[in-house]
């Protein structure tokens, strides 16, 4: 019999430092292949997360028909998820690097 919910320790199956988009893709594909309708992602040992990973994970998570819940998310990791969601909600104006007035050297 398949249990309704499965818990995955993210740091154990991936890394304590979540960096690449491709890794996020693999995680969601793995979740998609599980027979359990609910999945709990345990972030307790995750130390860092890149914006790219957070963005890819959030984007792909929206497209799968499975209930995913994140647990034990550190404040730092939660902030990165929030940054991604805020950017999705509205196109932010980038704080630009101002290149005006910088000397151009033609070689």
């Amino acid at each position: 019999m398949i249990s309704r919910s499965k818990t995955i320790n993210v740091a154990q199956v991936l890394s304590a430092n979540l960096a690449l988009r491709e890794t996020a893709t693999r995680l969601v594909q793995y979740i998609e292949g599980l027979p359990n309708p609910e999945v709990v992602l345990d972030f307790s040992d995750v130390k860092t997360i890149s914006r790219s990973f957070a963005h890819e994970y959030s984007t792909r998570k929206r497209d799968i028909h499975k209930q995913i819940r994140e647990a034990n998310v550190s404040a730092d990791v939660a902030k990165m998820f929030a940054v991604v969601e805020e950017a999705r909600a509205k196109r932010p104006s980038h704080t630009r690097i101002d290149f005006e007035g910088i000397p151009v050297i033609n070689l």
Partner: protein, 272 residues
């Protein structure tokens, strides 16, 4: 303490490559110190030149000669006992093997302690490595971080021999009269990927690494026929149109120098 410009170190690579191409001799006899900004593109040049014969003249300083030999010939050594540097890691084509390399760089740099903290240092290496995989279509790519405690800075370099930043944007349909214009656009958020939430990695890192509220360091970007070096002080900022000169690069080099030790900062002050 003022962090020195990285442009002369890139120029050192350009000079060595130019002499090797014109004389057939890779003459490092006058090299008494080498930074990642020189070593990574030089390694890339040697890897790309396999099959061509260059007479190699090693540095006269045996320590430097041994170091370069180790870096160029053996990029995957187990050097965990030497904590002052990370060898130049070649990035694997298979991304699933990359996490272990990035973890190792984090460990060897004390999880970013003294380099802006764990989150900021991870953001730097993770996002710029992700960019290489996402945009460059590289054959060879490398990452190297080295801490110079006496010189009081850390240098982190990323090199790939891919289609360049301007090449990636042009392939996505954007038009530019110069490579420099494309690079400036990429820094300010233009991405070859269609989704509008993309295109943050480079610009956020330039701001985080150079801002006075951030790490207060310097960033050098060389890609195709364009380059810039950026720091907080206007007097240290330069843009370069490289044209067909020996300075142009078939690929992308991004180097960052960060004061060491640097206080812990919040990357979220720079993300949008």
């Amino acid at each position: 303490m003022m962090i020195p410009s990285m442009w002369p170190e890139y120029g050192r690579f350009v000079n060595l490559r130019h002499i090797a191409r014109t004389t057939g001799r890779l003459d490092m006899g006058g090299v008494n110190w080498i930074y990642p900004t020189t070593l990574l593109p030089l390694t890339g040049f040697l890897v790309a030149s396999r099959g061509e014969t260059y007479t190699y003249v090693p540095p006269s300083d045996t320590d430097v000669a041994d170091y370069i030999k180790l870096m160029i010939e053996n990029p995957f050594p187990d050097r965990l006992n030497r904590k002052s540097y990370v060898p130049n890691h070649f990035l694997p084509r298979n991304q699933s093997d990359t996490d272990a390399i990035l973890d190792r760089i984090m460990k060897l740099q004390n999880d970013g302690r003294g380099i802006g903290g764990e989150t900021a240092f991870a953001y730097l290496i993770d996002e710029l490595t992700t960019n290489i995989y996402e945009h460059s279509e590289f054959k060879n790519a490398m990452v190297m971080a080295q801490r110079y405690e006496k010189k009081r800075f850390v240098e982190v370099s990323f090199y790939d021999d891919g289609i360049t930043i301007p090449g990636s944007l042009r392939r996505a349909g954007f038009m530019y009269s110069t490579d420099l214009d494309a690079i400036k656009d990429a820094v300010n958020g233009k991405s070859s990927k269609e989704e509008y939430e993309r295109g943050y990695g480079l610009g956020t890192n330039v701001r985080m690494c150079t801002d006075i509220e951030g790490l207060g360091g310097k960033v050098l970007v060389v890609s195709g026929r364009g380059a810039f070096e950026y720091a907080r002080e206007k007097s240290e900022q330069r843009l370069y149109n490289l044209g067909e000169s020996p300075y142009s690069l078939n690929g992308t080099l991004i180097s960052v120098r960060i004061p060491y030790p640097s206080k812990e900062i919040s990357v979220y002050d720079f993300t949008e």
